[in-house]
């Protein structure tokens, strides 16, 4: 194997961390975000207020800071070591920080999407004797998804690139890995990381375009 091949292989390996962080965040933050959206729309004022405050704090502070706090705070506050130790601990802490952060962003997108569905849809479900859950899952949800896809695709693409922030707690994601070569006087690996991101985002863009086409038959 040539040196170039072996460097690319190592970069690819570390990009695996970016993708895992991306995947875990997406899978957990979507349902959590939906939950937060419902809390923000709660008729109980206190609940809505708490939820909105959480969203404000999380969206109002840097993700990098949140990663640091979630990783270091338990130790500094003598709360034990919830993350365990070593590389897996750092990855777990980063994942949790990312999930909370992205759930808050997603919640606002969901909230906007849900509020955007005409009230008549809900009322039509009601007069047809459907339960609240049936109205949400059978009537509203797909219309919400249709409405929020463009905003979601933006946010999801940002998430791909944000995964590099995990390096702040020494997670050896792709850019950090490439920098090791820069230190040795090799600059091209750093530039090549951009291609990894471009390729992955390209795939996601295709996927979102496909989904948008799939839902094209719904005119809302």
């Amino acid at each position: 194997m040539t040196e170039i091949q072996s460097i690319l292989l190592r970069l690819w390996d570390s990009f695996g961390l970016n993708i895992r962080l991306f995947g875990l965040t997406l899978v957990c933050a979507l349902p959590l975000g939906l939950g937060i959206a419902f809390l923000s729309m709660s008729r109980v004022k206190v609940i809505a207020w708490c939820s909105k405050t959480l969203v404000w704090v999380i969206r109002g502070t840097p993700l990098m800071l949140q990663v640091l706090i979630i990783f270091f705070a338990p130790g500094l506050l003598n709360l034990g070591a919830p993350w365990g130790s070593g590389a897996s601990a750092r990855f777990a802490a980063a994942t949790v920080a990312f999930i909370i952060n992205y759930a808050c962003y997603f919640s606002e997108i969901f909230r906007g999407g849900i509020l955007g569905v005409p009230i008549g849809q809900q009322e039509a479900g009601e007069v047809l004797g459907m339960t609240r859950a049936q109205i949400f899952y059978r009537v509203t949800l797909l219309q919400v998804i249709k409405r929020i896809l463009p905003a979601m695709s933006n946010e999801v693409i940002t998430l791909v690139k944000d995964t590099s922030l995990a390096r702040i707690i020494s997670i050896k994601e792709i850019i950090m890995m490439a920098q090791e070569y820069t230190a040795k006087g090799l600059i091209w690996p750093l530039f090549s990381t951009g291609l990894f991101f471009l390729a992955f985002v390209g795939l996601l863009t295709l996927l979102f375009n496909y989904l948008e086409r799939k839902l094209d038959y719904i005119k809302v």
Binding site: G120, A124, V127, L128, G129, Q134, R138, K219, V220
Partner: protein, 258 residues
């Protein structure tokens, strides 16, 4: 015994009194037209019957049984409200079809969900057959695989009528069913409603189509400022209105539609 009896219904939104003591009754198989200017409370009355609004005071009885009493309203559970809704069907001014479903699915969805919730095996074939019968009745059998956006407003409204009928309500309500339609499309919807009247479907129709109301309704209510000003047979109200306000209201319509 009347199929529907409304007793002294009151409803306010904040300080705005929208219904101010509405009482009337309706016989099985009769068609009631509710007329009046915008803001007279007609739509709110329909929404109260369908549990979309909760009256502050008064009772609603179906077949002599109280299905709503404002005194017990705070105790009303989501479940019992849902059960009571099945007495009524509602056709909206703006159709409110579900955009992600075909015409057929729009009609069958609620019936299928209801059947799934009940004991025994749901008869999905039977439900679809019934939906197709309704589509035939509406003159739309060739449109069952279409999505709502592919239909004209008049066609959409007829699908909405079929959807409401699919649950076999005892009383079918219409909230200005032609107000959102282009003038040339109102005829096809009114024709369907007229056919339902001929089949003795019990209906409450809020409408601005005076000629239609006069023609189809057995009974007419004229509402103004949340009260029933005049009520009687369609002949009575339209030909010999007793109240000055009714006369004034009808004279505004006499130009084009009466």
């Amino acid at each position: 015994m009347p199929i529907l009896e409304v007793r002294d219904l009151h409803k306010s939104f904040g300080r705005n009194k929208v219904l101010d003591g509405i009482s009337f009754s309706l016989d099985q198989g009769a068609t009631l037209a509710v007329i009046g200017s915008s803001g007279s409370g007609k739509t709110t009355l329909l929404r109260c019957l369908n549990f979309l609004e909760q009256p502050d005071h008064g009772n609603i009885l179906v077949n002599g049984q109280t299905i709503f009493d404002a005194k017990d309203a705070p105790m009303l559970t989501e479940h019992s409200k849902r059960q009571k809704r099945f007495h009524f069907g509602l056709v909206f001014q703006s159709f409110n079809l579900f955009p992600q479903y075909t015409v057929l699915k729009n009609i069958t969805l609620a019936v299928e969900l209801l059947a799934k919730g009940q004991a025994g095996k749901p008869d999905f074939t039977g439900i679809e057959t019934q939906a197709r019968d309704l589509l035939t009745q509406m003159g739309l059998i060739d449109k069952e695989a279409f999505y709502p956006y592919q239909l004209s407003g008049g066609q959409q409204q007829r699908v909405a009528i079929a959807r409401a009928l699919a649950l076999k309500p005892e009383i079918l309500c219409f909230d200005e069913p032609t107000s959102a339609l282009d003038p040339e499309l109102t005829g096809e919807v009114l024709k369907v409603v007229r056919e339902l009247a001929q089949k003795k479907t019990t209906m409450v129709i809020v409408t601005h189509e005076m000629a239609f109301a006069r023609d189809v309704a057995d009974h007419v209510l004229y509402m103004d400022e949340g009260r029933i000003i005049e009520e009687g047979s369609s002949e009575q109200v339209f030909s010999q209105p007793a109240h000055e306000r009714t006369k004034q209201f009808l004279s505004r319509f006499s130009g084009g539609s009466a």
